[in-house]
């Protein structure tokens, strides 16, 4: 092992003597953090783009108007850009790709509401978009759910006062009767609780973090940023090993009386150490500047090392399948960036379609991001103990991919 330590020291010295590439690898993640801060930080705009929605109201009744009023309310205006149009215009806007979704309220919606019949609102999503139509659909779903809950509470109380099955024109007698009922409703303790605003109780998942909005925002993205940094560092640095192969340095190393894995092992170890140290510095920066908190330092170090080893192994394996550093860089970057996207390095996986979300559970980038989420205390990602299967999976990935890459590289050195 002493020999490996000497080789590792010299390999690390080589990396330190190439400050430009070291700085580039270090700066990329910080640059990305800067971008994230600009977009989501305290001085940023702090919002996703508005959801553009077109609404077609075939009903034109009391409840449909309540629904459209709610959608165009001041409270939702920050997130929704709603236009109420006829169906022909709505379809034209959708066909032009200028709206995220189209909502069609059918005729008889209000009558059905008061008759306690099942109701349907049709939503058409823009297939060119994924996140914004989903947000818009969720808003519609929330409002219709709230309407259903309100109907369940109100209908028994209004029974006999309003008959929507026939003539619905208001008369003085009906208004008086309805007013009397409303006062009765307001006097009813159950209805009072419903209307006081505490009917929906929101429990903060991390009460101790309440008010620290900046760290909450960074908590969403930091796991992906650190994983992404490791992805770039590992993929980029493996180029040196491919250059060593092409220049004959690896072949020469194998003519010395050493086990073949010693030279390649020292190079890979240097790569993993450099990537890990860079990632650790990034974590420190995220903690110091943005208040990102990671619960367990020792586990964090182990996890970073496992991620760096797995990513390095995969990148090296991809490079070992190619003929030169240019082709190797393209192959490794392409595949690793794809894996990074699927694993949630660039966009949190909750924004991905369900079938892609499940992919994150079976790929190394997904394990990497999930591990950082667990460490930051995202309990929905699992308790602290659940990080171990991810670390083991990452280490197995590293062992298998490095062994395969080593075999391929040695074979190439022999044939070359």
């Amino acid at each position: 092992m002493r020999r490996v330590a000497v080789l590792l020291k010299l390999e690390l010295r080589r990396k330190l003597r190439d400050p430009v590439s070291m700085v580039v690898w270090m700066v990329i993640p910080f640059f990305m953090v800067g971008l994230m801060a600009a977009v989501f930080g305290p001085r940023g705009q702090g919002s996703l783009p508005k959801v553009t929605m077109v609404v077609v109201d075939h009903d034109q009744g009391l409840v449909s108007r309540l629904l459209t009023s709610a959608l165009t309310s001041q409270e939702l205006a920050a997130s929704l850009d709603v236009t109420i149009v006829d169906e022909q215009d709505a379809r034209r806007i959708m066909d032009g790709g200028k709206a995220s979704l189209m909502v069609v309220i059918p005729k008889g919606f209000s009558e059905g509401f008061f008759s306690n019949r099942p109701l349907k609102v049709r939503v058409f999503r823009n297939p060119q978009e994924s996140i914004l139509p989903k947000i818009g659909t969720d808003v519609i779903g929330f409002l219709t759910d709230a309407g259903s809950a309100l109907r369940s509470a109100l209908l028994p109380l209004t029974k006999g006062v309003i008959d929507f099955s026939g003539d619905t024109k208001p008369t003085l007698a009906r208004v008086k009767a309805l007013s009397a009922r409303i006062y009765t409703i307001l006097d009813n303790p159950a209805a009072g609780r419903l209307l006081r605003g505490d009917a929906l109780k929101v429990v903060d998942r991390h009460p101790e973090k309440k008010g620290v909005s900046r760290s909450e925002v960074i908590g969403w993205f930091a796991p992906g940023i650190v994983a992404m940094a490791l992805l770039f560092l590992s993929t980029g640095q493996t180029q040196e090993i491919q250059e060593d192969l092409i220049s004959g340095r690896l072949a020469r190393a194998w003519t010395f009386p050493s086990r073949p894995w010693i030279a390649l092992g020292a190079k890979t170890a240097a790569l993993v150490v450099t990537a890990s140290v860079s990632a650790a510095l990034l974590v420190l920066a995220l903690s110091g500047v943005f208040g990102w908190r990671v619960g367990h330092v020792l586990l964090l170090i182990v996890h970073i090392g496992a991620v760096a080893a797995a990513f390095s192994g995969l990148a090296l394996l991809l490079r070992s399948l190619t003929k030169n550093p240019e082709a190797g860089g393209a192959a490794a970057s392409g595949v690793m960036v794809g894996l990074g996207f699927l694993g949630g390095c660039f966009v949190p996986v909750i924004f991905l379609p369900p079938f892609l979300r499940s992919v994150a559970n079976v790929i190394p980038t997904g394990w990497a991001v999930q591990g950082f989420l667990i460490l930051e205390g995202a309990t929905w990602a699992g308790d602290l103990g659940s990080i171990w299967p991810r670390i083991v999976a990452l280490l197995l990935t590293a062992i298998v991919s490095l062994a395969a890459a080593g075999w391929l590289i040695r074979r190439k050195a022999m044939l070359g």
């Binding site: 010299l10 003597r17 020469r252 194998w254 010395f256 009386p257 044939l415």
Partner: protein, 308 residues
């Protein structure tokens, strides 16, 4: 002298192509054996098989009596390799490159320091040991490359085209170092396509072409195989009819613009050769009389020149 390197009926095939075809030779301690052949003759493949980088298709290789495939670590402890490319770490210093090799060659710490100083002194780079290799000239890199191969003081040195592409001064320095290493008892296998290098350095030469050993012996033995004859090289425009030459004049090669013949007592025979050539309808531009050389032997054996 003990045979430190023995190659016996070595065959190396890449698919249907045979790169080395039944090659056998031995190199003794203190001997420089030149493996001479054109590019693609199988020299580098042979060296790679000896180092263990390539597995032979058949035949055996013994380094200090050890088979590199049966006991790779022990065999490689006796082997030092200098490849065609100077595969050094340009971002490390000369000293660090040697130390790197010491670690790979399992040279322990204190001995590694001592060995590094000795080798850098030997190749004349002691005063520049802390400079990065990227600042070195091609000749300095080649010298350092040799030092790197010597860190574990191997008995057998494999030098694959070590003198290619370096300036005359570095070349002279390296030749001196190689001769010194042989004098100290190292067995040196030198591959080259340069006849002058082979003649200048080698005690014995093997001529290799298309994977086969065509001739082997000392330089004087090989030259003698041409007989006490000179070589006449005639260039010009030749007709289809071959010249009618005297008995004892041997055509080594003939093409549309060149005729090479071997002839006894060249200066006296030259007018007769020229007359025969002109009588055959040739228009002669230039005539050169040469002493017998390995180049001529290669030409005789293969009908091609080394540089082809």
């Amino acid at each position: 002298m003990g045979k430190l390197l023995a190659v016996d009926r070595l065959v190396k095939r890449y698919g249907s192509r045979t790169a080395v075809d039944g090659l056998s030779f031995e190199v003794a301690a203190g001997e420089i054996y030149g493996l001479l052949g054109p590019n693609g003759a199988g020299k580098t493949t042979t060296v790679k098989v000896i180092t263990g980088l390539l597995r032979p298709s058949s035949g055996t290789v013994l380094v200090a009596g050890l088979d590199p495939y049966v006991r790779p670590l022990e065999a490689k402890a006796h082997l030092g390799w200098v490849g065609q490319e100077t595969s050094l770490y340009e971002d490390l210093s000369a000293e660090e490159n040697v130390r790197f090799a010491c670690a790979l060659a399992r040279v322990p710490g204190a001995k590694a320091r001592e060995r590094t100083s000795f080798l850098l002194e030997m190749i004349g780079l002691a005063d520049r040991s802390h400079e990065r290799v990227s600042k070195f000239s091609g000749g300095m890199k080649r010298r350092l490359h040799l030092a790197v191969a010597l860190v574990h003081n191997p008995d057998v040195l494999l030098l694959d085209e070590p003198l290619v592409g370096i300036d005359p001064q570095a070349r002279a320095y390296l030749i001196g170092v190689i001769e010194r290493l042989a004098a100290e008892g190292h067995a040196v296998l030198l591959t080259t396509h340069d006849m002058d290098d082979a003649e200048r350095l080698s005690n014995r030469v093997g001529i290799l072409d298309q994977g086969k050993l065509l001739a082997e012996g000392t330089v004087s033995e090989l030259q003698a195989s041409l007989g006490e004859r000179d070589v006449v090289r005639v260039t010009g425009v030749f007709g289809d009819e071959p010249p009618r030459l005297d008995e004892g004049v041997e055509i080594l090669s003939r093409s549309g613009d060149e005729l090479v013949v071997a002839v006894s007592h060249g200066p006296e025979a030259l007018p007769r050769v020229l007359a025969a050539v002109e009588a055959a309808g040739a228009q002669v531009d230039r005539v050169v009389l040469e002493r017998p050389s390995l180049e001529m032997l290669f030409l005789k054996l293969t009908g091609r020149e080394l540089r082809d």
